[in-house]
């Protein structure tokens, strides 16, 4: 059974029709990268998977449960879906460890000692066991993003959503975050990643989804979608991303 199944999803902000009928699944242990130009609706799609955005039409099934149903226990569903944001969104009044324990103790009702142990294990997993007591303001962007990943992992999610996790980072810090994500993929985590890192998508993704204008234009293994795209829109986008200084001969 698919872990996430999306059916005919539509989302508008006012008159701006951002998602125009998305059908899409993510299977267990699958790593899916969503690529596409800005404004194509890829972040909105991701935010609909844990219902941070309420779609106007269509359904989102997580483990077979329709989370767009108003009677669904949304908070319970969200516990299974870890989310990593572009702007990290760490809690600035809590240190790295507390960022990772606050939801464990309050939402999952874990004992403080157990939450502490799990948080430390996850901070070690992202290579930050030295920074347990540091506050977000004392950490670099890359370190903050890795704490954010540890925070999400501490809830033992079945699925991890990444919303352009490296877009707000200085170039030299991107590698650390991508390394953590690559390791996570190797460990068998189901991941849905919105990204501009083509090299990462090509190497780590099981499937690449190209979106443009609120629809999925094409999807498939990275070697096909990035290596040999069928659609003209995909080719145009990839040319711009992979070879930004390229000048069209016709111009």
């Amino acid at each position: 059974m698919a872990l996430v199944e999306i059916k005919n999803l539509h989302k508008s902000f006012g008159s701006n029709h951002v998602l125009r009928g998305i059908d899409f699944t993510v299977n267990q242990r699958e790593v899916v990268c969503v690529i596409g130009p800005s404004g194509s609706g890829k972040s909105t799609l991701l935010r609909c998977v844990n219902l941070l955005e309420q779609p106007q039409e269509g359904q989102v099934f997580v483990r077979g449960e329709d989370i767009t149903d108003p009677d669904c226990h949304l908070d319970a569903a969200r516990q299974q879906i870890g989310m990593v944001f572009q702007q990290f969104n760490l809690f600035p009044h809590l240190n790295a460890l507390q960022n990772c324990t606050v939801a464990q103790t309050t939402v999952l009702k874990r004992k403080p000692a157990e939450a502490d142990r799990i948080a430390r294990a996850n901070l070690e997993r992202v290579g930050l066991s030295e920074k347990v007591t540091a506050y977000p303001a004392q950490l670099s962007g890359g370190q903050q993003q890795r704490v954010a990943i540890a925070r999400a992992l501490s809830m033992d999610p079945a699925l991890m959503l990444f919303d352009e996790p490296t877009s707000a980072l200085d170039p030299e810090l991107v590698g650390d975050v991508l390394t953590v994500m690559r390791k996570l993929a190797l460990d068998g985590m189901t991941m849905l990643v919105v990204t501009h890192e083509m090299a990462f998508a090509r190497e780590v993704a099981d499937r690449v989804v190209f979106m443009d204008g609120g629809v999925i234009v094409e999807q498939g293994p990275p070697a096909e979608v990035i290596g040999n795209p069928k659609e003209e829109r995909t080719r145009t986008f990839l040319r711009r991303v992979l070879d930004p200084t390229h000048v069209e001969p016709t111009k």
Binding site: I81, G82, F85, Q87, N89, F91, T106, A148
Partner: protein, 273 residues
């Protein structure tokens, strides 16, 4: 705009010389005023009326410290009440439920628009209007409630602004971890909001210290006198303003450190941004 080229020699003073002359004139006016004040005022009388040592001494012996403590107690209790009430009102104003928003807005606009003294006069008349009515913890109960009612209205707006200043991503992060809305507000939003509003809230505390002087409207017994009531009473008895001036200086002892604290907190907030 002048059309003369910049290289042409100008007549008169250069801008630097003009600024210098203006500064000299300002100093001259200041010195003239000070000289007039020194010679025109009757300093002996002023010292007698406002700063007579024997009345300062008697003020300290006749209950000034107790009055200072009363002022602090009235202010502290009202601040706590205002903080709790203000937080509740701020959350009501941001509620999804319309009537809560309307009630909170009406309350805030009403008590912000009303002079605090009117509220105090109303409270002083309550025992007359409702015969046999008593408010517990006399005299603290009535003072705390009267001051707290007004303070809550002011603080509610400050706290609401603080809650709205917490970035939206914070709530999204909390909700994406499975926190229900109330838990996210308690654990994530409010702690950050209170950090943001600490400086303006301290300003409200300074206002509250001064507003506590309105207590004398309610007419407490002599044992309930705070600084203003005490100063006025003793100034009447002594037929001299020294006790009132002394009481006034006591307010500064409280408010000046708070003012410094506000500036420190603001500087710290500016640094961490």
């Amino acid at each position: 705009m002048s059309t003369t080229p910049d290289t042409a020699p100008r007549k008169g003073l250069s801008p630097r010389q003009r600024a210098q002359r203006s500064r000299w004139i300002q100093y001259a006016i200041l010195i003239a005023l000070v000289v007039v004040a020194i010679f025109a005022a009757n300093w002996g009388q002023i010292a007698d009326v406002f700063f007579q040592p024997k009345f300062i001494k008697s003020a300290f012996e006749n209950g000034l410290p107790e009055a200072l403590v009363k002022t602090l107690e009235y202010t502290a209790g009202a601040f706590v009440l205002g903080l709790v009430g203000g937080t509740v009102l701020a959350l009501m104003r941001l509620s999804q439920v319309g009537p809560y928003r309307w009630i909170a807005t009406a309350y805030i606009e009403f008590f912000r628009g009303l002079p605090a003294i009117v509220v105090f006069i109303a409270f002083s008349l309550l025992p007359l209007a409702f015969e046999g009515m008593t408010i517990p913890l006399d005299p603290y109960g009535v003072v705390w409630i009267a001051l707290g009612i007004v303070a809550a209205a002011y603080m509610a707006e400050v706290i609401r602004a603080g809650i709205q200043a917490v970035p939206k991503g914070q709530v999204e992060a909390a909700r994406s971890l499975g926190m229900p809305a109330g838990l996210a507000t308690r654990k994530i939003v409010l702690p950050q909001a209170f950090r943001i509003v600490l400086p303006p809230l301290t300003n409200d505390l300074i206002l509250l210290v001064k507003d506590s002087s309105l207590v004398f409207i309610i007419g407490t017994t002599a044992s309930g006198y705070e600084l203003t009531g005490f100063g006025r009473d003793l100034a009447n008895t002594d037929a001299n303003l020294t006790p009132l001036v002394t009481a006034g200086f006591c307010y500064l002892i409280i408010t000046l450190p708070l003012g410094i604290l506000v500036r420190r907190l603001e500087a710290r907030a500016a640094r961490s941004r």
